[in-house]
Amino acid sequence: MRNFSYSRPGTFDEACRVTEHTRFLAGGTNLIDLMKSDVERPAHVTDLKSLSMNQIEELPDGGLRLGALATNADTSAHPLVIRHFPVLASAILAGASPQIRNVATNGGNLNQRTRCHYFYDPDMVCNKRSPGTGCSARGGRNRIMAVLGTSEACIATFPSDMCVALAALNATVNLHGPKGERSVALRDYHRLPGEAPWIDNVLQPGEIVTSIDLPSVSFGEHYTYLKIRDRLSFAFSIVSVAVGLEMESGLIRRGYLALGGVGTKPWCVPEAEALMKDKPPSHSLFRDVAERILEGAVVDRDNAAKLKLAPRVIERALWQAAEGTPQSQTCKTIR
């Protein structure tokens, strides 16, 4: 463990005062792990837990505001989340383990880092960890790596389940920074790696995620979070899909869909979602949607299976949503 200084500010303005080597600490389930692995080497850790950001409250328009410090467990068990945004509760429950969800926070989930083997091993070159050193995941054991949104510099997958549901729900991320407050669409929050994979998202220095807003939706039972992984619990996704459909008299009025496990960020393709507008559910439609979403995918040494699997998972998830039979996260039979 490298030495670092630590503070627990009581106000946002205080918390926003950072240097280049400051890291924010919330639940700690990712940061502490990365510090132990010598991946994150903060000179200073600012603990955010004294800031009041753990509320979950209704918004005037029927939406919901999730405090950044509310735990994943509390969020997934909150009556308003379960009633109005079950796809989010489901996605949270699909991730990690109860012990981790009890500590991990919503803001932390947005800012978690990749699980790429090469990122996690400080002996390996990695542009995300050490800018400009190269990418050892390309050409390596990359079964878990991304096939969408990759670049020469990085093929690391963004590992969150929760963010996949937030992307499907078109959530908004509220930020507080040295220059004041602003909001960013969740779908724009995470960055593609491009030539600078070390920058995961649009947060500016000193900016803190304060809350996440969910706009009101009317999916009823027409949603699902379907996650395929290498064992039936406590594993990061190989492919996951969050779907919400606004259905009316057998037609999809609007469809929302995001993919996890395959992209360098939660993967959404508005053109693919638009294909579903005012159409009845059908195999050919869902196949088209899947094809459109996966357009431009690039596989590397070990991860071609993801591309084979992804369309099937997308289609199954769309059927689950269309038929109003969302995937259970406790019964492991896939509906």
Partner: protein, 744 residues
């Protein structure tokens, strides 16, 4: 405690359970002597080459750092390579930590930082920079196959396959056949407790070494030899071991480095490995088996041809008994097998739970299932038809073999006779259902072992042997054995294990501890009892009734007849007549002449029959194991509770072998890349169904003095194949690579 329920064969709960769940049981990394230094190992980045320079200035500048030990400044160690051969006796040139500048595998220790705190040691270790001269390496298994060879000196437990008949001719002539290459990915043992050592220099100049090992005496011998110390100078203790699965069979580099550090710095030292560092030493070798089988139209097996290869390092020749199992178990008239090892620039592969058989039995039983289907025969009927009642490879009878009973019992519990023959016959909603089965076989071994029994003036019985309880329940079954042999309630028995100074016991492994240490404890207790009664009879001070032949020890009391009526006396009081504080007996259980003759004439194995149901979502390639039944024939079961727990644990591990576990080698670096529990997947609870473990009654007076065979490994053998075979029955698709991953 109910006295009656404490004897051999009763389901006694672990006597060490309370100490373990309350944290009183101390493991290797837990002794905390004053002045303890923390050692953190720095591992090589390259797979092969030479260290050119080690830059440790920054590390030495970290406050609290005492020393950076490298090959430049380490203390003197043994001169000759043979001094570093450990108890496992793998032929070749043993790895000598920090010996010189040469790098032989990725992750090889290149330095150890010792500091006053763990944090300082770790920080300093991160600051060490090493310059290497890189040499070409090969860590690719497929490439290594081109260099496969048979070493001139084999491992002592290697059983060469014996050919019978003419297998290639029979293969050509018979009408029904299958052939293919079967493959198992490398796996790491990954016990919960990571390898660790605490070394304490004592005032009398000796070293007390707390090590995570399966063999304290083997580590003691190794350390004394490799560090050129007097054997008396080293005492190794491992009273509690948090799982090992074979990773503690060899003295791992942490114990050598910790002892070396303690010698160098004359202070107590602890070296612990991190989870990623657990991927820098032993692992189950990657394996391929090319299997060709042929049968006639009656479904009678006519030809077995097996060619198998496992990997080893470039410097040691690790071997497994990979290819023999089918030749032993099936009565096929024509059979041949060949085994070789393939070198790559990694650390040496090693024994992991049921070495050889976990791989060889499972892959062979997958091939047998293919042939049964090619014959359009039920896989159970096919096995019963072709199964040999003797060891068909050595042409020797078994001491006992209740496999046929196990097959029947397991099939009945599972409901196997409801199984439709054809694959893809069973479906529930979107899931295909498949039923598969396989048989398992593993050695039933017995090794000479000593134990001591002591009766003390407080009326307590003390048992001691250098056996290791690696989490299997050895403490418990040995206390049960003593309880029965001496007729003593178990709450008046103390037991000491895991200490090199105790009576001699071989390294725990191979499922022999229950049979061997059990027999030793039995003999020692009987001997003690005889000695006790003899002393009472001989003694001038004892009353007349104690001098009669009728006296016995029963349930912790002395019983006899006085004036025609029964009389009982506490052991404390009886002992006081003799005028000794305690009496003691030490005995060694060994095969003896009859046992040795039996070993030459009879085959000794444990058997099992495994039945499995899977549900497969074919579109998505998701496999769920929904039922597992394992009927085990393992001689006398000393404790059905701990024994079933052993078998269940192995079935979980075998489920991992079938579906999850794979150490991902990046050949470019020679490094296993998924070196943590997030990415090296062992089964989670959701992956494991209710498991039925049944024990078949199998009486065997010849196998070992107590009729015990041991159950630590048999649960691995067959279970992975049963799962793979069930997947075929569900889907009609054959998988010849384990693990079978989702989406495959």
């Amino acid at each position: 405690m109910n006295v009656i329920s404490a004897k051999i064969g009763q389901p006694v709960s672990r006597i060490d359970g309370f100490a373990k769940v309350t944290g009183q049981a101390k493991y290797a990394a837990e002794p905390h002597p004053p002045g303890l230094l923390y050692g953190v190992i720095v591992n090589s980045l390259i797979a092969r080459g030479r260290i050119e320079a080690i830059h440790d200035e920054a590390a030495r500048a970290v406050p609290g750092v005492i020393e950076v030990m490298t090959h430049h400044n380490r203390p003197h160690t043994a001169l000759f390579e043979k001094s570093y051969v450990d108890g496992l006796g793998v032929p070749g040139s043993p790895y000598r930590p920090l010996h010189d500048a040469e790098i032989r595998f990725n992750g090889q220790p290149v330095a150890v930082v010792f500091a006053e705190t763990f944090e300082a040691a770790r920080e300093a270790a991160m600051l060490i920079q090493v310059d290497y001269e890189r040499w070409p390496h090969n860590a690719d298994f497929d490439a290594a196959l081109y260099q496969k060879y048979m070493p001139s000196k084999t491992r002592s437990n290697y059983v060469p396959p014996k050919t019978r008949g003419n297998a290639s001719e029979a293969y050509a002539l018979n009408p029904i056949k299958i052939e293919g290459r079967f493959h198992l990915a490398p796996e790491h043992h990954n016990p919960m407790e990571m390898h660790a050592t605490t070394v304490i220099p004592e005032e009398d100049g000796t070293l007390t070494v707390w090590d995570k090992t399966q063999g304290p005496q083997a580590v003691q011998t190794y350390l004394a030899s490799a560090l050129s110390l007097s054997g008396k100078k080293v005492r190794v203790r491992n009273p509690y071991v948090g799982g090992a699965f074979g990773s503690g069979l060899r003295a791992q580099h942490n114990v050598f480095l910790a002892a070396l550090g303690a010698e160098m710095l004359k202070r107590p030292v602890r070296v612990t490995l991190t989870r990623p560092q657990m991927f820098t030493h032993v692992f189950r070798p990657e394996a391929v088996m090319d299997i060709a089988l042929a049968a006639d139209r009656d479904g009678t097996l006519q030809s077995i041809i097996v060619e198998g290869v496992t990997d080893t390092s470039r410097f040691e020749h690790n071997m497994e008994n990979l290819v023999i199992w089918g030749l032993i178990g099936y009565k096929c008239p024509n059979a041949t097998a060949d085994y070789k090892i393939a070198p790559r620039d990694t650390y040496t592969s090693s024994d992991m739970r049921a070495p050889g058989a976990a791989t060889g039995v499972n892959l062979f039983e997958m091939a047998i299932d293919e042939l049964a289907w090619a014959c359009r025969m039920d896989p159970l009927a096919f096995r019963r038809h072709n199964y040999s009642d003797i060891d068909a490879m050595h042409n020797m009878p078994f001491t006992s073999n209740a496999l046929r009973e196990a097959l029947l019992l397991g099939a009945e519990r599972f409901g196997w006779n409801e199984r439709p023959l054809a694959p893809r016959s069973l479906r529930d909603g979107k899931e295909l259902i498949g039923w598969g089965m396989a048989t398992g076989i593993w050695d039933a071994m017995f090794s000479p072992t000593s134990a001591r029994a002591r009766l003390t003036s407080d009326g307590r019985l003390h048992i001691a042997t250098a056996a290791s309880d690696i989490g299997t329940g050895t403490y418990t079954i040995l206390v049960q054995t003593a309880s029965e042999a001496f007729s003593m309630p178990i709450d008046r028995i103390d037991i000491e294990l895991g200490d090199s100074t105790l009576p001699e016991c071989p390294t725990e492994g191979g499922s022999w501890t229950a049979a061997s240490a059990g027999a030793a404890v039995w003999l020692a207790c009987q001997s003690l009892c005889e000695q006790f009664l003899k002393l009472l009879k001989k003694n001038k001070n004892t009353p007349d009734w104690m001098k009669q032949d009728e006296i016995t020890v029963a349930e912790g009391e002395l019983h006899g007849v006085r004036n025609g009526s029964p009389v009982a006396l506490s052991l404390q009081d009886a002992l006081s007549f003799i005028g000794q504080d305690s009496i003691e007996a030490e005995e060694t259980a060994k095969p003896g002449l009859r046992g040795k003759i039996s070993e030459m004439r009879k085959a000794r194995f444990t058997h099992s029959a495994v039945f499995c149901e899977v549900r497969v979502d074919e579109d998505l390639g998701i496999v769920r194991v929904t039922r597992l039944v394992n009927a085990v024939a393992a001689g006398r079961i000393m404790n059905p509770k701990t024994a079933a727990s052993q078998v269940r644990g192995a079935m979980v591990m075998a489920t991992g072998m079938a579906l999850h576990e794979e150490s991902l080698m990046d050949e470019r670096y020679g490094r296993f890349m998924n070196h943590n529990f997030a990415e090296y997947h062992v089964p989670s609870h959701a992956d494991i169904p209710e498991m039925d473990v049944l024990f078949v009654d199998e009486k065997d007076k010849e196998i070992s003095p107590l009729g015990v065979k041991g159950v630590g490994e048999i649960g691995m053998c067959g279970t992975a194949a049963a799962i793979a075979n069930a997947i075929f029955h569900a889907t009609g698709k054959r998988h010849r690579n384990l693990p079978i991953m989702s989406g495959a």
